[in-house]
Amino acid sequence: MRLMLSGKATCNSHGQDSSYFLGWEEYEKNPYDQTRNPQGIIQMGLAENQLSFDLLESWLSENQDIAGFKRNGKSIFRELALFQDYHGLPEFKKALVQFMEEIRGNKVSFDPNKIVLTAGATSANETLIFCLAEKGDAILIPTPYYPGFDRDLKWRTGAEIVPIHCTSSNGFKITARALERAYQEAQNRNLKVKGVLVTNPSNPLGTTMTQAELDLLMDFIIEKQIHLVSDEIYSGTVFSSPNYTSIMEVLSKYEKAEVWDRVHVVYSLSKDLGLPGFRVGAIYSNNDSIVAAATKMSSFGLVSSQTQYFLSALLSDKKFTKNYISENKKRLKKRHASLVSGLQNAGISCLESNAGLFSWVDMRHLLKSNTFKAEMELWEKIVYDVKLNISPGLSCHCSEPGWFRVCFANMTEETLEIAIQRIKAFVESVSRGHDKAIGGKKCLNINLRKKFSKWVFRLSFHDREAGER
């Protein structure tokens, strides 16, 4: 029967045969609950922002007109139900670009006519690549990167990803050498490099790009005459210095040069506003042809008019957005500090970070050997014995074993505290030399280890949830 389906249906490019999968499976079988299942697995592999729903809910209670599909007391249900124009609701686009400007400290301005709405950043990234690349082309991406890119950028587009290897030696920053090496590797593989895609702030690192990196990228794309896509979906989560610099700010220094047509931003409300279910993504570009093509392609994944309407009202409320942006950052900062200090007390350090919904945690000292096999073994222990679902660096294509992404914004403070206690206890047991599996799951683990060894070097990610990052 599989012969009857397309190549895309039968290949593994969707990336779901992943080392992630077991962690999720285990979590779903045994999910932590404060009262009903306090011994369960705590989910720390999900980059969600659950810290500021009260702000949204209180806005709703004061704006009930919006709730009932009404504007000024009059029902607009009919118009909304019929509205399928791929140009998007004008008032929503206006409010969205203003929100994006506000997040960037109003240091850049966005034109609502240059934004294309898509069903989540998942769709935005795929659509943009459909516009820029095809089979035989490559996109360069710095490692470590969001595992979902393997699906979003390659699966149906036919494009390839070539990694720009970054290392802990300089805090995983992009270097000129790494860029050149990646470019060369693509050439060696007979691939035409069409562009570079960066995530800024970074997932999984949680860091914002330095001015030097941004300038380096601009020089590189100008020299190679290629595109630059900046995935800025975490731009609203920058909770401490250094201040965030969007690629659009850097671009404005280049005075309408040809490069303006080759720099594009991807945005979404899934992380900053914590609304992944609403599927709100966007592509922003100064390139008219791309805006035109992407707009037509957005037909395959438009944003529900119901959702556009609600969000246009929410984001048009400047009092709300100002307060939300600042309050959200405060809460993220506090939560981040809790995790980092908690881990520190357990002798575990994190990459210094100022953004995102996660920390990039250094557990290299806990590895039996400096190998990915050892990383997988450690991960297995953390999932089954410590009962935390965290994301191994291998699944993010990190070139060094021992790093893990640990999310902190998708749980209560109490739950985070418990997670930290569990880690502490685990580290203590390791240092006491008791590194055997606690909980008697050893025999079960042998079969699972067999499965793991198959996946150790395979590209991996978890996509059970559409936009999980």
């Binding site: 820029l132 008219d288 559409a466």
Partner: protein, 486 residues
């Protein structure tokens, strides 16, 4: 803006710069005239009436009433806000269980509960547009083909071929037998493909048909099943107009046929559904791929990440479609109103001497204007179309944009306007026919103003050359939604 960078490397992909989006089709051209001069009963009574948009606008009063009585269906109201957080976070590509259950139940009801649908086979997509592209990505490789009976919905050229690089091969149907899909035509199309070394992956049927407004009878469906089983190719049934059947004979879904014979290979059958036509909710982007093939469900689900239904909308729809009493009332009322509107138009047209294909479904009529053509050519059809848009001021869709093999047919949408506008449209048609000779027939050709038609031909050229910048999903211009608030 140049398409190549200064060192001659193409800046954009071929997909971004080719015409695969199919918007150069005359189907979308008619919008231009309409958008420039849209009809309004009081503000612009001589404007162009939109009859090229297959929307169901006849039952919003029922839905609005339901919404007022069910505030908890919206997560934004006081009654529903306790669900806000969970729904806002829900991005699981399996979809809300309540949503899948409600959609499966609704699909069954629309088919008179003659079949049951399994909620676990429901895969979400970005409208039917997204569903068609997705199923094609699952079934076909670049270069593979799908057979599709003509005339067919113009959007299929984009949905099934643009980014997937699949192709569509026509199965030509004729008015001589009311455009029936015959086994002979299927076999001919298949043989042609084989001869040209094209790999046929499946057959795409739209039932009820757009643009014909008819349903497929049991024999045709059985022939189609037998054909695809024999050739071992897929069958995609687009049933998005299922609930717009307003008169006998009853709608027969492929889901019924599949149960008739255990020998049928169920792995070959897939249904495309949506709420855009049956409920009138195109803006909510609720598309469904229902497949009897487990591997397709699995693959489709992963692909649905690219076009999930907003959880806010899933929640609302789940609530609405689960209300048995409301749905029963809605389906009955909708069919009744569509029947009335259909009769109003067909009667009115008959009085003007214009015939339509005998249909019992859809949101449109398939109008026969062959008698008004100068010649039986596409050029003559386009010339007549120009006259209808510019002089009669009705935006209708020419048959050639649906790949109809016979010139002179036009699709006329009738469910996207109120009764008043209906009367105005009919009046204009009556006047047009009167001006251009009574009771025209193909043999008589009583044109007094054939000169006008020749001039119109030139105008058509101009329209077709200029790029279409309007969205094929243009909103109603008098909608407050398209005016940005300052």
């Amino acid at each position: 803006m140049s398409y190549v960078s200064s060192n001659r490397k193409p800046l954009l992909s071929r997909k971004a710069t080719n015409d695969g989006h199919a918007e150069k089709s005359p189907y979308f051209d008619g919008w231009k005239a309409y958008d420039k001069d849209p009809f309004h009963p009081t503000q612009n009574p001589s404007g162009v009436i939109q009859m090229g948009l297959a929307e169901h606008q006849l039952c919003f009063d029922l839905v609005q009433e339901w919404l007022v009585s069910n505030p908890e269906a919206s997560i934004c109201t006081k009654k529903g806000v306790d669900k806000f957080r969970d729904i806002a976070l829900f991005q699981d590509y399996h979809g809300l269980p309540a949503f899948r259950n409600a959609v499966a139940k609704f699909m069954g009801r629309v088919r008179g509960d003659k079949v049951k649908f399994d909620p676990d086979r429901i895969v979400m997509s970005g409208g039917a547009t997204g569903a068609h592209e997705m199923i094609t990505f699952c079934l076909a490789d670049p270069g593979d083909a799908f057979l599709v009976p003509t005339p067919y919905y113009a959007g299929f050229d984009r949905d099934l071929c643009w980014r997937t690089e699949a192709r569509l091969l026509p199965v030509v149907c004729h008015s001589s037998n009311n455009f029936k899909v015959t086994r002979k035509a299927l076999e001919e199309a298949y043989a042609k493909a084989v001869e040209a070394n094209i790999s046929v992956k499946g057959l795409l049927l739209t039932n009820p048909s757009n643009p014909l407004g008819t349903i497929l009878d049991r024999d045709t469906l059985r022939e189609a099943m037998s054909f695809i089983n024999e050739k071992n190719i897929h069958l995609i049934c687009d049933e998005i107009y299922a609930a717009t059947v307003f008169r006998q004979p009853d709608f027969i879904s492929i889901a019924e046929i599949i149960e008739e014979d255990q020998e049928y290979n169920r792995n070959l059958v897939h249904i495309i559904y949506s709420l855009s036509k049956d409920m009138g909710f195109p803006g909510f982007r609720v598309g469904i791929v229902y497949s009897y093939n487990d591997a397709v469900v699995e693959c489709g689900r992963k692909m649905s990440s690219f076009g999930l239904v907003s959880s806010q909308t899933q929640y609302l729809i789940a609530s609405m479609l689960s209300d048995d009493q409301f749905i029963g009332k809605f389906l009955l009322e909708s069919a009744g109103r569509l029947a009335t509107r259909h009769t109003d138009f067909t009667d009115g047209l008959r009085q003007a001497g214009i015939k339509c294909l005998n249909g019992n479904a859809g949101l449109f009529l398939w109008m026969d204007l062959r008698g008004l053509l100068m010649d039986s050519t596409v050029e003559a059809e386009m010339a007549l179309w120009q006259v209808i848009i510019n002089d009669v001021k009705l935006n209708v869709s020419p048959g050639s944009s649906f790949h109809c093999s016979e010139p002179g047919w036009f699709r006329v949408c009738i469910a996207n306007m109120n009764e008043e506008t209906t009367k105005v449209a009919l009046e204009r048609i009556r006047e047009f026919v009167l001006r251009n000779g009574n009771k025209p027939n193909r043999k008589e050709k009583c044109w007094q103003s054939d000169l006008r038609l020749r001039l119109s031909f030139r105008r058509m050229d101009e329209v077709l050359r200029s790029p279409c910048i309007m969205s094929p999903h243009s909103p109603i211009p008098q909608s407050p939604l398209v005016r940005t608030r300052t």
